[in-house]
């Protein structure tokens, strides 16, 4: 632990980054040493990606220091970070698909292989091939990038990151953000070999949701929670369960879940039957839910829960077939789902959930504007009347019904997007994807109450919760997904809530 400072190549010292309504980094301190693989683990919102982004200059911390080889720096951007030998392999693959591998590796720093704007392909291919060969990556530098497999592209990304080696004097620091999320088991093994190989010439920061992978690969692990590093773990002495209990923390059960409102007597009839809903090309899930039941989908990112949520709402590549109140319905698109009384509140409220410049009234009536139409015309008075009713009932704080929804606070925006489905004359299933994301405690509590009310009225709720705790507290039943399949089904009655660790076991 007491390594000499000279060994620290990259350090975050008390970084703080605030966004409106959330704190992404809250005094984050992490060190990366020479020739080590540092693992970073944390739940969503723990600050992993903000930390990585501040390491490459994409995010500027409000407070705190960033030290590169002992010297404090204020990174101006990716180029600046690269010049200091820090490069990131992004989670969403960041290669230009219609260029050759060589162009991608040397993008923006082609050096002598482009003279006066003219490409000299041979030296360019040779230079890129040299980078690939040095990492023993079996890819042709002249190949078009979109002819490669995902695994190959991942390797090319690493080669691209390592190419900064030639431009800097010092050994690089390579940041790997979820590099294994799209890889098969043997591809992961191969990637790990490369990363271990890389350690001889570089330092590596490895971020993954897969705790087993982090333990297998890392020399040291930082556990992040709530925007700070809460523990440093020696992988040789820890196991997945231990790591996970550190990850989840000891959150106290909160009263704002309105547990007293959870109805225990869930009817035995089946409102929704999902059978063989594809989560990936090779996996599918089946389950059913009763009227008034809240079913939580738990699982790490990439477990397939988003695919299930969107699938139930008909937002999938293929037509989804469900059984709704005993009737088979084919959902070709979200419109069909909406007609059948299925609603969806997406996770990305700002981009998918609302239309910021439109008014509160227009946003709320968006899905059911037909209800207020006389012929081709919207009966604005009827629309406003209905909207007004829900604004009052949900206590939505807005200066007026014509106020653009973008001007409201996050909690009130979310209530409007929820109310959009409450306007439905026949809401039977409501799918909620992270309905409390980015909300403060008070607003969360109100959303929870709304979910309870809906359930009490017999609406089936499918919930992807922000935290495990929320999933357990709000649901009657937790379905645990992993790798696109349901791995466990855990009942969660109000008087006998399961412990998070039981769910975690099935998740990881």
């Amino acid at each position: 632990m007491n390594a000499p400072d000279a060994d620290v190549v990259l350090a975050a010292d008390g970084l703080v980054k605030r966004y409106p309504g959330t704190v992404a980094l809250d005094g984050m301190s992490v060190t990366v040493r020479r020739h080590e693989i540092l693992g970073l683990v944390g739940e969503n919102g723990a600050g992993k990606s903000t930390l990585l982004k501040s390491f490459v200059g994409l995010v500027r911390p409000d407070h705190g220091r960033l030290l590169v080889r002992g010297a404090p720096v204020a990174l101006r951007g990716v180029q600046h970070a690269n010049a200091l030998g820090i490069a990131m392999v992004y989670q969403e693959q960041s290669l230009v698909p219609n260029l050759t591998v060589a162009e991608n590796i040397l993008l923006g720093s082609e050096g002598r292989s482009v003279r006066g704007g003219w490409y000299r392909w041979k030296p360019l291919f040779a230079a890129a091939q040299r980078h690939l060969d040095r990492l023993q990556i079996d890819v042709d530098a002249a190949a078009r990038t979109d002819t490669l497999t995902f695994a190959q592209r991942q390797m090319v990304e690493i080669a691209k990151a390592m190419a900064i080696e030639e431009r800097t004097q010092a050994e690089p620091v390579i940041l790997l953000d979820e590099p294994t999320s799209v890889l098969e088991a043997q591809e992961v093994e191969r990637l790990f070999e490369h990363v271990r190989h890389l350690r001889e010439r570089a330092s590596v920061v490895f971020v993954s949701h897969r705790l087993d992978e982090v333990l297998a690969l890392s020399d040291r692990v930082h556990v992040l929670r709530g925007g700070r590093s809460v523990a440093e773990v020696n992988p040789q002495q820890a196991d997945v369960a231990e790591l996970h209990s550190l990850l989840v923390g000891h959150a106290s059960p909160d009263s704002h879940y309105h547990l007293e409102q959870q109805d225990d007597a869930v009817p035995t009839q089946r409102r929704l039957v999902v059978s063989g809903l594809a989560t990936t090309t090779r996996t599918a899930v089946s389950f059913s839910a009763a009227p008034g039941e809240v079913v939580a989908l738990a699982g790490v990112e990439g477990s397939g829960r988003e695919a299930v949520a969107r699938g139930i709402f008909g937002d999938a590549a293929r037509t989804v077939t469900l059984t709704l109140d005993g009737k088979t319905v084919a959902l070709r698109n979200p419109r069909r789902a909406s007609r059948h009384g299925i609603g969806f509140v997406p996770a990305e409220r700002r981009t998918d959930g609302m239309i910021a410049p439109l008014s509160v009234a227009e946003n709320m009536s968006l899905s059911h504007v037909r209800e207020f139409c006389r012929g081709p015309f919207v009966d604005v008075r009827a629309e406003r009347k209905a909207v007004r009713r829900w604004v009052d009932r949900l206590g939505i704080k807005t200066p007026g019904l014509s106020t653009p929804i973008g001007a409201l606070s996050g909690g009130n925006q979310q209530k409007v997007t929820l109310a959009r489905w409450l306007l439905s004359p026949d809401l039977r299933v409501l799918v909620l994807d992270h309905p409390t994301r980015g909300l403060d405690v008070g607003a969360k509590s109100e959303v929870y109450r709304l979910i309870r009310d809906l359930a009490a009225q017999g609406c089936t709720v499918i919930l992807i919760a922000d935290t495990l705790e929320e999933a357990i507290a709000m649901s009657h039943r937790v379905l645990v997904l992993k790798d696109g399949e349901i791995r466990a089904e855990i009942p969660a009655p109000a008087d006998h809530k399961p412990a998070p660790v039981d769910i975690v076991r099935a998740m990881v």
Binding site: G77, V78, V96, L107, T147, T149, F150, V188, E489
Partner: protein, 342 residues
């Protein structure tokens, strides 16, 4: 609690030993050859339908009419690579033609700048193209609107220079471009051929060309790689302007007089040609040679329809249908992924 037993392996291993191909590999597909196939089918079809179509003179005709469009379309193709659009050809050509007509030997004034006058047309093209790029990147106006505006400016300036009187050009070299024939083809056609080859070389061997292509593929990646995006966007529009300027020069040679409306219809035809050739409007796909095939398809279609007796009014409609069909055909395999189309 029912925990479904977990298999020993963390993840199902790939069924095959080799690396599995998840990617939507970009291999040659039918769509890539469709424009060429369409060209062949149309040519054979018209050749059967009308004997006058299959004469050497008609081949000369087709290529001579296609020449200007081919040059302009090379420029357009680079803009389309980026996923941007350029509707400024008519205006740029309007000014270019008038500037050229006034500066070379003509019937209005005593100017006789010869080659320098012709060079001025190209300068006009580059200047307007640069203006397009600057408006797009600095004032951040979408290319659709920016280039429409620039087109109007170009037509306005052209009209001012026109001043109500057509000007005939008498410069022997310029006029000669459209009259001199080698092997039956006018010099204009050879210039166009040269422009296409130059365009192809630029696409393949220059940073401007490659980056234009890459911007259409994944603009964000370039930005994160530290590429000076706005600079290259301006270069691309300037390059396109150069080709429009050359198009103006050739048009002036063909018409023999300065007419502001010389480029009328080229906005639509050049984008249509590029698209028919397989260049994707969302960028990142296609090429100068493909676009040129598109130009030939349109030229053959236009020529053939006249020969089989379709009125020129109906021709435009047929052209429109051809474009829509071509776009539908090129985007059909990926229509699910296109998402919202605005």
């Amino acid at each position: 609690m029912t925990i479904i037993p977990e298999p020993d392996v963390v993840r199902t291993p790939a069924p095959t030993a080799g690396p599995r191909d998840h990617s939507r590999s970009r291999r040659w597909t039918f769509v890539d050859f469709a424009p060429l196939a369409a060209l062949v089918v149309l040519t054979i079809g018209f050749a059967i339908a009308n004997p006058r179509f299959r004469t050497l003179t008609n081949l000369h005709n087709i290529l001579d009419t296609a020449a200007v469009l081919a040059v302009v379309t090379v420029g357009t193709t680079f803009v389309l690579f980026m996923g941007a659009i350029d509707l400024s050809m008519e205006g740029i050509i309007g000014t270019g033609v008038m500037v050229g007509a006034i500066l070379v030997a003509n019937t209005r004034n005593d100017n006789n700048l010869g080659l320098a006058g012709m060079l001025a047309i190209l300068v006009v093209g580059v200047a307007f193209g640069t203006l397009n790029g600057v408006i797009l990147t600095k004032i951040r106006i979408p290319s659709l609107m920016a280039t429409l505006g620039v087109s109007a400016i170009g037509l306005g300036i052209g009209t001012m220079l026109f001043a109500g009187n057509p000007i005939s050009v008498t410069d022997p070299i310029l006029v000669g471009l459209a009259r001199t024939r080698w092997l039956g083809f006018t010099a204009v056609t050879y210039v166009a051929l040269g422009a296409v080859i130059a365009g192809w070389l630029i696409q393949k061997y220059t940073r401007v060309g490659r980056y234009a292509y890459a911007i259409g593929g994944a603009e964000d990646v370039l930005r994160l790689s530290g590429v000076h995006l706005s600079r290259y966007k301006i270069y691309v529009f300037a390059l396109a302007g150069l080709f429009y300027g050359l198009g103006a020069l050739l048009l002036l040679a063909q018409l023999g007089s300065g007419v502001v409306q010389a480029g009328s219809g080229l906005n639509f035809s050049s984008i249509a040609a590029a698209v028919v050739g397989g260049t994707l409007l969302s960028g990142g796909r296609g090429g100068v040679l493909q676009s040129t095939i598109g130009v030939l398809v349109l030229a053959v279609l236009g020529n053939g329809l006249v020969l089989v007796g379709v009125s020129s009014y109906v021709q435009n409609a047929v052209l429109g249908v051809a474009v829509v069909v071509a776009v539908a055909a090129t985007t059909w395999p990926i229509r699910r992924k296109l998402g919202v189309v605005k």
